[in-house]
Symmetry: C2
Subunit: 337 residues, 2 copies
């Protein structure tokens, strides 16, 4: 293979076919992709199907705890899983800047393959575009995903059954992804103690759903952080949200980096953190189930829903005050995912 990506790798011709064969089919290896048709033909079981997409433009493409490829698989797997679906099939569409070292692309593709295998999803179809140098920044990846949904779990994605008194759960410490990226951007240090939490949550979510717990809503707290999910939940469902700051786990190093750079950890992006709203009687059982999975080791009940202040999310602060959490008005961290 060539040492660097050429415009010809996006031409539809000989170079593109060799890239598909020697890189994508080699690593993603499965019978759907091997057909080299523009569409993968799937046999889905009866029932509902979840369908999602996300593009990833993270800078830098390699970061402590992951890379853009791992992130692209985890993000889409998590979007399906928080809808209550079992992720099954994903696509991988690459927009590559001319000149990208082939070795970097190969590491990223290998990382996608590894993460897809762990999550139990197949990468069944894709696309490659190459743009001239300077017309994109290294590499953007889009993944779309299909998941199978048991009808019983259908309304989890919209949370239409949540009610006052339900508990709000979180599977671990916040702000790690965003602060890992900011550490690298600001200090260029990959040996930082802060690692992105980028990970596929679908197996942990399945373990929780299999307990039969009354899970009423799930959402992964990505761009906009935990606060944004709290605001969305309050406004979309017309309930009040109460979060206890002291109950929200934040790693000490992450908190230090947030203070150093002037960020509020509640608004910093996560890529392996999940908000779950659960019937109060089932909350402890769900926490225990989460704790049995390494991705939920520090799971905590962080608050509850209330009939007070409908449409508003309130934070009970550690120093005894109360403040309203609002959505970010502008951009805090461009290209964080």
């Amino acid at each position: 293979m060539e040492k660097n990506i050429l415009l010809g790798h996006g031409s539809g011709g000989r170079l593109m076919h060799s890239l598909i064969r020697d890189l994508f089919i080699k690593y993603f290896d499965n019978p759907f992709l091997a057909q080299q048709s523009d569409s993968a033909i799937l046999d889905l079981p009866p029932g509902k199907t979840a369908f999602t997409t996300d593009s990833y433009v993270i800078d830098p493409v390699f970061f402590p705890g992951g890379d853009i490829g791992k992130l692209a698989v985890c993000g889409t797997v998590n979007d399906l899983a928080v809808a209550g679906a079992t992720p099954r099939y994903i696509t991988a569409a690459f927009i590559i800047e001319e000149g990208l070292p082939m070795e970097e692309l190969e590491r990223i593709v290998a990382s996608m393959a590894e993460e897809a295998k762990k999550a139990g999803v197949l990468i069944v179809t894709g696309d490659t575009k190459v743009v001239n140098k300077g017309q994109c920044d290294k590499l953007f990846i889009n993944t779309a995903g299909i998941g199978e949904l048991e009808t019983a779990h259908a309304p989890i994605g919209t949370g239409e059954h949540i009610a006052a008194g339900d508990k709000i759960l979180l599977n671990g410490p916040i702000a790690q992804h965003g602060m890992a990226i900011m550490a690298v951007r600001n200090f260029g240090n990959f040996n930082t103690s802060i690692q992105s939490d980028c990970s596929c949550l679908n197996h942990m979510i399945r373990e929780v759903l299999d307990t039969g717990a009354r899970v009423k809503f799930m959402r992964d707290a990505t761009r906009g952080g935990l606060a944004t999910v709290m605001c969305e939940m309050a406004t979309q469902r017309g309930l009040g949200v109460e979060v206890n700051e002291e109950d929200v786990p934040v790693d000490d190093n992450v908190r230090g980096m947030c203070e150093l750079l002037g960020f509020d950890p509640f608004y910093v992006a996560n890529e392996g953190k999940l908000v779950m709203v659960v019937h109060p009687e089932d909350a402890e059982m769900v926490i225990q189930t989460m704790k049995n999975n390494p991705l939920g080791r520090d799971a905590a009940i962080i608050g509850e829903l209330t009939g007070n202040h409908p449409g508003k999310a309130a934070l009970q602060t550690a120093i005894g005050g109360k403040r309203i959490m609002d959505m970010l008005a502008g951009e805090q961290l461009p290209r964080i995912c």
Copy 2:
């Protein structure tokens, strides 16, 4: 709304929510999107499902006969339709350069909505990322799509039933899309007589399939042009391909532009042209059916499959010679789709 796209429109916060509400939901209006969940929850009928994706990076984003939004809908609709599927649901993921005029984004979104309506597909979920000025070129769009497949049509996408003697059909003149783009890029003239053929072929394909004709393979001739599809067919199925140059329709203006700029029309991208391989007894019926649709008005039988020279695609030239068509080695037209 703001006059230009800001980084904050990709933040996950307030600006992004208003963009989703005031632009995407407004134009794409459907109950799936209105749920504002990360996954759309679909009810697919029993049977096979086709799944595809493509990213669009075309430059310029507006061109004679279309724009990047129309193209993004048509391309994915066509990829599903040539697999024999009925396109149903698509995603729309935007990577936007900071500073893009909101008015341009709105025109593109309106164009996507219009084309989706014509094609009979719903845009059910999406994603928005904004990158800093200079880190992408105006706008890239990814669409992924789901189509429903009658099992009878299942092997059309791979062409595993094609045989020597089958006829090769084309629905109209080639090279229009690529040359429309090149005309604008080179001469900046939107009043050119050359228009892109960008269009959704799913209804015309459905009309053909509904005749009961023995359609054995379909592929849209996009990047790499007609020649690339001929080469793929020959190598993937181990048959010989014979195409008669005189039977392949090329518009006179397009031919002139190709000569002026030094392009071979057989390798120039199309966005509304379809190669169909049909049992010889059904070929005339299919041509008549295509001709009844405006998108197939100039449909023609352009060649056939043969047991001779397996794996090779040969062109019988207008001047009486014969030449082997090969895949493009490098890139002819970067960012043509």
